[in-house]
Assembly symmetry: C2
Homo-oligomer: 296 residues x 2
């Protein structure tokens, strides 16, 4: 990883961790079980890539990372964590491990894991309501985030389509629909909400939305390729799981070589949307470049 | 039920149902399963008492039921429905029936029921972000609602304490803590958010909060008493279930007669908080009076 993108990601992750530490109820706060469960999954080694995208998208608009934006990143990360906790439940993906650690329900039981996911979603919206930006921007961010994680082309909708299409032959349309909604929508809204926090106009929002849409799909394609080509130790999770469960993935439909080309082309298209911002977009572009070139 | 309170509740419920019908994705919208599940539980015969409280609290401040407030009531009802879907799951209360109908997971399976609850919470916040009131009021409402349904003295926290205290001898402090958080907080925030929508000052908010706190506890005590004294057919759900599962209830600690007196005293205290509003509070008071005097 080049030195500059490494420090962007490291500093962004540290800011996010500090914000999460300050925002989540302290360990031991009654009822202790659920607060333990929320912290267990929030601090399970996530790379905080979404909060880093939030920050760099804001810098693309404002020319610098605005004060207090780490709380917006932390809210997005709470939502990401809630979705992972619920995805891992026995009734859904039934995963015992995530990033090498026991999943929330394995440690705290199913009831507390369900409620901990619920509570992380709730707290994310509480954090958004407390953001240090004009009320009209806050309202816009709450609406954008809720829409991105909902059922119509949003995160939950993608999750439902993913579950219901297992063991079906994946089509290009199906794979794109799942990626766009299940993982793409939260990445897209990370970028857009970061921009709105920094004072983005409607035109800026449209450009960031296009960037987030293209880049988000590219990241997911790269994830799918890594799942097929890298062993579990390097990946930090069970490799080849998508294939074993016949998940609808990009390389399953298009093959690995075509997938790599598609990811590269999507990133080019994503970067074109940032043209008007010149050097102000360099941070955001470098993080996106890192995400499609990474090897785990 | 006197004619005036009957029409207040009926008209409020109808307005809420229309709003929910318009806000929830239409039946058949892809992915159809989750939208079916969300509608199944949202339209399962709920009395819409929280939305009615939202409307009458707003009328206490504004002198009339303000336009568009039914969407705030609908958002609160989505949250109430989400909490019921998750409460009923096998890992939590494991209920097959609610209001005489099969619960969400019995019809749609556990995975979709978990995600339908998640999605109703999400959509509630999307609806709040779209409220037709000044952005500063919207931000305040989002923050108040999220806080009321969170883990610290909020709905999820009360649910955790309730689960973890089953089969323990209930103490007065425990029962009050569960009621205040698990059911009381959402009732309290219904009243307060309704007031904020109507332009409540900080002083109004404090009065509505006190009213909501006292009245919410009274409603729950009456619920507990009805569970012990009324048969299942009249109640529309399994009577005596609290006793069978050794739930921490008010009459289990204080006896039925004392519980009835406590509920009556709490309502008197709640009404005292509304003194400054004179006749403008009559609607809110009549609904509260109905709720503590009802027989099912």
């Amino acid at each position: 990883m080049p030195a500059d993108v490494k420090s962007i990601i490291q500093e962004g992750a540290e800011l996010t961790d500090k914000a999460l530490e300050a925002l989540l109820p302290p360990t031991g706060t009654v009822p202790a079980s659920i607060h333990g469960a929320m912290r267990h999954s929030t601090f399970a080694g996530g790379k905080r890539l979404r909060p880093v995208l939030v920050m760099q998208a804001a810098a693309t608009i404002a020319g610098h990372v605005p004060a207090g934006i780490e709380r917006l990143g932390a809210a997005i990360e709470m939502i990401h964590t809630y979705s992972l906790i619920h995805d891992d439940l026995p009734a859904l993906d039934n995963d015992d491990l995530r990033r090498g650690q026991p999943t929330c329900h394995k440690v705290y039981g199913e009831a507390i894991a369900i409620l901990a996911g619920d509570a992380l979603q709730t707290q994310a919206f509480e954090v958004l309501a407390g953001l240090d930006c004009p009320p009209s921007a806050t309202v816009q961010i709450v609406g954008l985030v809720a829409n991105a994680i909902g059922t119509v082309d949003g995160m939950i909708g993608g999750q439902v389509i993913d579950i219901e299409s297992e063991h079906q032959k994946p089509t290009p349309e199906l794979v794109e629909a799942i990626h766009r909604a299940k993982t793409g929508a939260l990445i897209r809204v990370s970028v857009v909400a970061g921009g709105v926090y920094a004072g983005a106009t409607a035109e800026d929002v449209a450009r960031l939305d296009l960037f987030g849409r293209k880049a988000g799909l590219a990241f997911q394609i790269v994830d799918d390729v890594l799942d097929m080509t890298v062993d579990s130790a390097q990946l930090g999770k069970t490799a080849g799981k998508d294939l074993a469960t016949e998940k609808a993935t990009w390389p399953a439909v298009f093959g690995i070589e075509q997938s790599r080309r598609d990811a590269a082309n999507l990133i080019d298209e994503a970067f074109a949307a940032l043209e008007p911002y010149g050097a102000k977009a360099e941070g955001l572009k470098s993080v996106a470049r890192y995400l499609v070139e990474r090897s785990n």
